[in-house]
Symmetry: C2
Subunit: 403 residues, 2 copies
């Protein structure tokens, strides 16, 4: 895989689009959907609305005007801004799903304003006081990592690019391991394995609708996000599971200084929604299993996508192994939230897509070549259907100029 | 006023306590309230619960499971993560109160996870790309500013201490002006007035329950926070009013990278609560005017506090001018959310208070001498009553060792 690290003024975060004008971020009002650019650059998880529409009342929360005025959620908790109900539902869901070994007392839970803020808190907590830590991740890496790391040009930590190129034994480093990986859905392990380093596991996608749960994860520092678990991106809730008390304390300190804690309203809502997901997983539940429902949609989308890609013979998609999932109690395969597609030659994949009014995110933003692009598969049905329709009409040499 | 800048390992943020153990942050369960340490170190605005208890249903919001999944609130808005309802209620309240000249189109509104995050966004937006800006504020300054500024030891900006000591004409600076000021309630203006600088106005307390609204503010960059306006600190909502489009864009970019926007749940709740406050201000409203209600409590607390302090003759309190308030349409005085008290000698004020089980925040954290301390006056009634009771028994030489 060709590795081309390329700086860019274009915004790298999960929500940024290839077009800087906000009006291009979504289909304009009054614009015919057939002519509209479909924006699959970001991973806006609106696919999940279909499930929550059925549960709209059951998973509703009412916040009275008189509640949650104080900064404090639980002064007895190390993480004093963590709502006890949320803590309880996070533990319950991990136990039901089996994706984390969350036995009592093993982890401190630190809640964050999405996992983006928790990444910064982790970098703050893990960087040495006297020298800058180099932050690395194996390419292709999540496009937000470089930007989050270097946002204010910290002297504590700085972005170092592809983890496979990090070869210094005497320097502090922090390796970010996203597994399953964003953008490509691949299961990963740490690659640096040198002294003076720490590893942060970003497990945003380690849920059974996306991938088989093969074993309970038990790393020292793991990040999860509400956005990718249930689809509620607008609530901005993430959580870290941290083994080391001192690291947890530093992360809490970061949250305290940077935002004085995390929205209680969203925490209470997240508790209710995660609780509904747990309820849906119990035997004899009177509601559809959330993960089964979501997996079925993704599975069907992947099948249809593979058919179209195969017929066009212009792009490639990765194949994923089938493994035993402890949650499904069956063999399942990975059906990632993103398609990581590549042109068969060296063409600029995002450019090819753009000509057909599909906005994806180009490979260079993930630290690899422009022949790759990431496309969100968790949009609404109408956008996904348009994607397939447009991919299916991309034909040979007009668009892909082999040289 | 003696100025003693002193570094400290003790946490400086609004919620931190003088005791690092979380169990000391609030009165312990089962502990007799009469023996408990009362924590008035932070400005937890629980005083306002009394009002919201009356409005608990009227100002309630219900969030359905199916709403607000997307990252986006309004893709047509420069601040794409700002909920249109919140924007509308912010404008409405400023118009009713008259504290900002918010005519249509003059300001961009940027929402933040409390105003702490917006301070960082402002420093990011106003610092030059090629040199570090020195961040200053006239002492006594809000104790969180140094810590927020230097959180990750940015190369873009760094804390420079008391603005009155900044005398370099050739260096970029950012002056923070808090008015009315935290900790001392004084009305302020910028003091540096040199080239290469920007000014950020923190107007958290420029609301009619705290101070007379003498004129609509119309600075280039102003910060407000939901916490101090209505008391809903747990929601973590703040907003910036920004004249310059490029500055607003950079602040939005900061919010995008650091937390991918701001909790929609809290924004929708804030819209409802601010709307209730506006409703309460209209002539012929069937509910009690929020600002009048809150001001009356604070006014009574200040009267009682001044009596106790006068009787003990050991401390001093500042006096504030009476001015015409455009909102009250009457002469009013300043009744700050904090008492900024000083011992008459050079004793450590926070230490004296601590002996009597009152936790305040010492002057050194605000960049001045230890003879000062800040005490929150926006706690619940029972805590305020205990404060007065304890202050009234502090007697002469046992505690204040004049030398």
């Amino acid at each position: 895989m060709g590795v081309t690290v390329q700086t860019s003024e274009i915004n790298h975060s999960e929500v940024s689009s290839n077009n800087s004008a906000p009006e291009n971020r979504k289909n304009g009002i009054g614009e015919s959907i057939a002519d509209a650019v479909i924006n699959l650059d970001h991973g806006d998880p609106t696919m999940f609305e279909a499930y929550w529409e059925k549960m709209r009342e059951r998973s509703a929360v009412t916040l009275l005007g008189s509640q949650s005025l104080s900064y404090f959620s639980d002064p007895k908790n190390l993480c004093w801004f963590l709502e006890p109900k949320l803590e309880q539902e996070i533990k319950r869901l991990h136990t039901i799903v089996g994706n984390v070994a969350i036995e009592e007392g093993q982890y401190y839970i630190v809640v964050g304003t999405g996992s983006s803020q928790l990444i910064q808190a982790a970098l703050y907590a893990l960087s040495p006081p006297d020298a800058a830590a180099t932050v690395v991740c194996a390419a292709p890496y999540y496009s937000a990592y470089p930007e989050v790391t270097d946002l204010v040009r910290s002297r504590r930590f700085e972005w170092g690019g592809d983890a496979r190129s990090f070869e210094r034994d005497d320097e502090p480093f922090i390796e970010l391991v996203t597994t399953p990986n964003n953008p490509d859905g691949v299961i990963r392990e740490a690659v640096v394995n040198r002294p003076h380093g720490s590893v942060v596991y970003d497990l945003a996608y380690y849920w059974p609708h996306f991938t088989p749960i093969t074993a309970p994860a038990n790393h020292h520092l793991m990040l999860f996000t509400f956005s990718k678990c249930t689809g509620h991106a607008g609530s901005r809730i993430g959580w870290a599971l941290v083994k080391d008390k001192e690291v947890a304390k530093k992360m809490i300190k970061f949250m305290e200084v940077s935002t004085i804690g995390v929205s209680k309203d969203s925490q209470l809502r997240a508790a209710k929604i995660l609780g509904t997901v747990s309820d849906s997983c119990s035997t004899g539940a009177d509601i559809e299993n959330f993960f089964v429902f979501s997996r079925n949609i993704l599975k069907e989308r992947w099948n249809r996508l593979r058919e179209v890609v195969k017929a066009a013979d212009l792009f490639t998609l990765l194949k994923y192994p089938t493994q035993y999932c402890r949650f499904a109690k069956d063999m399942t395969d990975t059906v990632p939230a993103f398609a990581w597609i590549a042109t068969k030659g060296e063409e600029d994949c995002a450019e090819v897509l753009k000509k057909h009014k599909i906005l994806g995110r180009g490979g260079t933003k993930f630290g690899v070549g422009k022949q790759f692009a990431r496309i969100s598969l968790v949009s609404k049905d109408e956008e996904f259907n348009l994607l397939l329709q447009r991919l299916s009409i991309i034909q040979g040499t007009d668009d892909l100029n082999y040289e």
